[in-house]
């Protein structure tokens, strides 16, 4: 089968690849481009481990075909730290013990980033709603919710 070209921005850097038609974005990111931060969990749209941000919206990369992302701006968790300094969400997840096995963490952070980008000071209920498509089997969720609330407070303090 003929390869098809895809071109998009990944964490601010231009990426261009030839892929098999029908390749999921998750597969393209992990196995073609080498960004392994989105995880392949259920491949059914249930667990949220593959969550990425496409043009500002949270999407599931396992249910998105890479060739439908031509020209898009894609953000993954691997693009969050700057100059070796962790993003406030990453820092908060570490400090709050919001990660155990870590498999869900990149998806959780993507979902939380979209929330904080749109709602800088969310309520607890808004955090729970924002993370409702992401499953964690380790933490019991509470440390994750607290980490997101902590990151929001940290952002607002830095902005003040």
């Amino acid at each position: 089968m003929a390869k098809v070209p895809v071109q998009f921005t990944l964490n601010g850097a231009e990426k261009a690849e030839f892929i098999d038609s029908g390749t999921t974005l998750l597969h393209a990111l992990r196995d073609k481009i080498g960004d392994t931060s989105p995880k392949g969990g259920c491949h059914q749209g249930t667990c949220g481990a593959c969550s990425v941000i496409i043009d500002g919206e949270l999407r599931l990369s396992c249910l998105t075909l890479a060739e439908t992302c031509n020209g898009a701006a894609i953000t993954t968790t691997s693009g969050l730290s700057k100059g070796g300094v962790l993003h406030p969400l990453q820092r908060a997840f570490l400090d709050a013990f919001a990660t155990q096995c870590g498999f869900c963490t990149p998806g959780m952070i993507m979902a939380a980033k979209v929330l904080l980008d749109q709602t800088p000071n969310p309520s607890r209920d808004e955090v729970v709603e924002a993370l409702s498509g992401n499953i964690c089997r380790c933490t019991g969720y509470e440390p994750i919710i607290q980490a997101v609330l902590t990151a929001a407070r940290s952002n607002s303090q830095n902005a003040a």
């Binding site: 059914q44 949270l58 979209v114």
Partner: protein
């Protein structure tokens, strides 16, 4: 097996390509790619259409037309569709709502398809292949449909009458035990003059509760007034049994939740 995706700028061209065996239409991907990922080898190629009308929401007075590619998130945030926001937010989590489309929801098997339950209560029409058909007819025949759904249309009164309830075990996002939508009109004395009730998970696809609708006519929305409708709520239903709930359980709790919705 690799899936070949073909993109067309018009629905007409995409419809022609859809006739090939093994070809499915790709909307938001939450049903078709899910099936492909699970190993459904009946899907060998995908097509999609990028015609702008598919992504348009048009509101003219109380007449609403929603293109088939419009996502649940777009409906939930549209100011003129506020009465439907609750039903749109009932679908999946945030990422799913950014992807799942109105057109796809019409094809979702139980326990999915919560938004279609709302469309049933609104007595929507489904635009397909240059024509329109009532949503009930469409749902009854959807397996034999081989043309792209382009839009749904309905009348939406902003001042009330539409109610929606989704029952799930996990909050805020969980698969439906059942979902209920009702569109009620009341006479000045409070009696019900018109009722349409849609049910989800009470069959393999969303269905109307016609016996309950009939039993509501001329009755007031009080405990005693709705009692005959609750007694008839499950008439004609054949609920699914899945890991969320058994058919027996769904039948047992339907009148309870319908009662709560009607008395709310």
């Amino acid at each position: 097996m690799a899936l070949a995706l073909q993109t067309f700028s018009t629905v007409k061209d995409a419809n022609a390509a859809l006739k090939s065996a093994g070809t499915r239409y790709l909307g938001g991907g939450t049903l078709v790619l899910r099936a492909a990922n699970e190993g459904d080898v009946s899907v060998s190629s995908l097509i999609r259409a990028t015609e702008p009308s598919l992504s348009a929401i048009t509101v003219s007075g109380s007449d609403v037309r929603i293109g088939a590619s419009v996502t649940m998130a777009a409906i939930a945030r549209h100011p003129d569709l506020a009465p439907l926001a609750h039903a749109a937010r009932a679908v999946g989590g945030p990422a799913i709502r950014n992807m799942a489309t109105v057109g796809g929801n019409l094809f979702a098997p139980a326990p999915y398809g919560d938004f279609t339950v709302a469309l049933l209560a609104l007595d929507a029409t489904v635009s397909i292949d240059g024509g329109e058909m009532p949503i009930e007819t469409f749902l009854a025949e959807r397996e034999s449909n081989h043309a792209i759904v382009t839009a749904v249309g309905f009348t939406l009164q902003v001042d009330g009458g539409f109610r929606f309830l989704k029952v799930s075990r996990v909050k805020p996002k969980g698969v439906s035990v059942l979902s209920i939508a009702a569109m009620l009109e009341q006479a000045p004395d409070g009696t019900v003059s018109s009722a349409r009730i849609g049910l989800g998970c009470m069959a393999d696809r969303p269905m109307r509760a016609k016996a309950a609708e009939k039993a509501l006519l001329g009755r007031k929305l009080t405990s005693s007034g709705i009692a005959p409708a609750l007694a008839a709520a499950g008439d004609g239903s054949a609920p699914i049994t899945d890991p969320i709930a058994s058919a027996w359980y769904r039948n047992e709790v339907l009148p309870v939740h319908l009662g709560r919705l009607l008395l709310a």
